[in-house]
């Protein structure tokens, strides 16, 4: 499905999770080279130390053997698991989120059929302008409140069950993503699966910023999906903003008012009880 979407947007293929194989392979070669150097240098030191007698020779030989051992026993980073490698050398960011909404696919597809409607559905999409021919200009709020503006190409399949987008050629950073609607099991409605991807371009500083903000991006996306579900299922977004609350500073009357009830207060409680 991912590859199909990328084909729709006319992009080159890339591995969304493991990072660039070219860069990773280069790093791996470099690490293997380091291991060989350790082994070679250690071997030479060992030989040199063994030729010398006394305590000094023993120390040099011992150091050499340590380096040989390190060269032989150190594992490739590839063997540490793909997570480590991806974190260090990833050249793209991918976030997947999904939510289930108690509506039909047709109802949701209808809501999502106009990219301009994203502005009311998703709080982090600030504005979208239709440039014609499937091209749009959009403003989204990124992590830390950063405003990101891009021209994007949007593709929607015939039934409206898959919407994909990708920044246009020449944009300073390559964003892409898709929304896929799938029937949920039983009577639970529709699963909405959203994927957002960011691909590093050579010389691009933005991915470093975004890479560190991946968690924030995931939370932004989760917030938007919750908001979409709330709007679809109950017609509004529950809020507590603007509700009343106390205004005194904490500790204004001391740290705590807790105390054993006094006789007067017990009388007071009896008086209140008498209201019955």
């Amino acid at each position: 499905m991912l590859e199909e979407t990328m084909a729709i947007t006319g992009s080159k293929h890339f591995d969304a999770r493991l990072g660039s194989s070219r860069e990773s392979a280069g790093s791996l070669r470099s690490m293997r080279g380091g291991r060989y150097l350790y082994a070679l240098g250690g071997g030479l030191l060992t030989a040199f130390g063994l030729k010398r007698s006394g305590f000094g020779g023993a120390v040099i030989a011992g150091t050499g053997m340590f380096l040989v051992a390190r060269g032989l026993l150190t594992k490739d980073s590839k063997r540490r698991g793909k997570g480590g490698l991806a974190r260090q050398h990833s050249d793209h960011l991918r976030i997947d989120r999904s939510i289930t909404i108690l509506k039909s696919k047709e109802e949701l597809a209808n809501q999502l059929s106009r990219p301009q409607s994203f502005v009311s559905l998703f709080s982090h999409v600030r504005a979208i302008w239709d440039l014609g021919d499937g091209q749009f200009h959009c403003e989204v709020v990124g992590p830390g409140g950063a405003i990101i503006e891009r021209d994007i190409t949007v593709g929607i399949d015939d039934q409206g069950h898959r919407i994909s987008w990708r920044t246009q050629e020449g944009e300073p950073a390559c964003y892409s993503g898709q929304i896929v609607l799938i029937d949920a099991p039983g009577d639970r409605g529709v699963e909405v699966h959203v994927t957002v991807r960011y691909e590093v371009m050579p010389g691009d500083a933005e991915p470093r910023f975004l890479g560190g903000k991946a968690r924030d991006l995931g939370e932004l996306l989760a917030d938007d999906l919750r908001r979409f579900k709330q709007l679809e299922e109950c017609g509004e977004t529950p809020s507590t903003s603007g509700q009343p609350r106390g205004r005194r500073r904490v500790g204004w009357l001391g740290e705590t008012s807790f105390r054993q009830l006094s006789t007067e207060e017990l009388v007071l409680s009896s008086r209140s009880e008498a209201m019955r």
Binding site: T100, L102, D187, R188, G189, E219, A222, D223, R226, K229, Q230, E233, C234, G235, E236, T237, P238, S239, T240, S241, G242, Q243, P244, R245, G246, R247, R248, R249, V250, G251, L253, E255, T256, S257, F258, R259, Q260, L261, E265, L266, L268, S269, S272, E273, M275, R276
Partner: protein, 388 residues
Amino acid sequence: MKALCWYGKRDVRIEEVAEPTIINPRDAIVAVSSAGICGSDLQIWNGRTPSMRAGDILGHEFMGEVVEIGPEVHKVQRGDRVVVPYPISCGGCWHCKREEWSLCDNTNPNAWMAEKLFGYSPAAIYGSSHVLGGYAGGQAQYVRVPFADVGCLKIERDLDDEQVLLLADTLPTAYMAVEQAGIQPDDSVLVWGAGPIGQLAVSCARLFEPRVLIAIDTVPLRLQMARDYGGAQVIDESLGRKAVREVIEELTGGRGPSVVIAAASIESNGHGVGPRLEEHENGFETGLPSTLWDAIRACQKGGRVSIPGSYVSSVEKIPLGAAASKSLSFKMGHAHVHRYMRPLLERIEKGELDSSFVVTHKMVLSDAPVAYELFRQVDGCVKVLLEP
């Protein structure tokens, strides 16, 4: 308006705050006529509930008169006298459609916070922590009621507040605890803890006509209430662990009760039968509430344990070995109040059920800080109603 605001552990104050306004089209504003203090309010007061913020208005059990409605509210009108269920439910999500109202997907504006703590967010609750939405509560003169069409139960007959207020929380909570235990006529039912929920659990269990109905507590007044109003056989927990065990066995033919309703929250005094609740510096509970420990031990092999008591954060040292070895079944959860309000109101109107007897104190809202201390410290205080 006057409202009871939380400022810290055992520190609540009456303050003048702004009156609530309509925020969303499905909101209503209710002028509160009565508000109850619940055991879970006591947990908040005692600093055991995470994510409270200074200035939060307390109270999730309230009723009153609708004084303003949003443009999308159609089922209630200004002037209607209503009881408001404590879970805030949207009415449109999958759980609401299945009448699992306390599991509503949509009403918690801080769902992200609840997801971190619980995995998934339940419905929001008035006057509770920010994990559960941070909505202003009803221990105030006015309160905003979101999704008023879904939540408000109109009271159209001439019934006193104390007869119907507990439909907002305590009575449906007790009824659900009984219903989900699946009581049959041959069952022996033990209600451990005879506070407000325990008392009403006894009354509700009586409706299912179990063979044996037992209530346990340490407070003589509460035991007397369970005997007089619920027709239960009562055991004084102060007798000590061994004696309590012997009486239970005597009343159940040596088998133990087939249903145990653990009706005490973590604020219960738990007089020394099980391990005691300890308190961390951060206010979270550790150890094990003795009631739950006792409930698990007392329950018959293959029996059912129903837990209406309020637990917010983690509880350690649950005796799963005993539960597993005896093949116990557990049911628990926040009550799906909306599901039970109308049928229970009908029972109240017919005189089949009365919850007003648990109300031992009525106080004016201005006395609310004292009321909390009274509720905690005075054995004879079972339920306090606040009147703004």
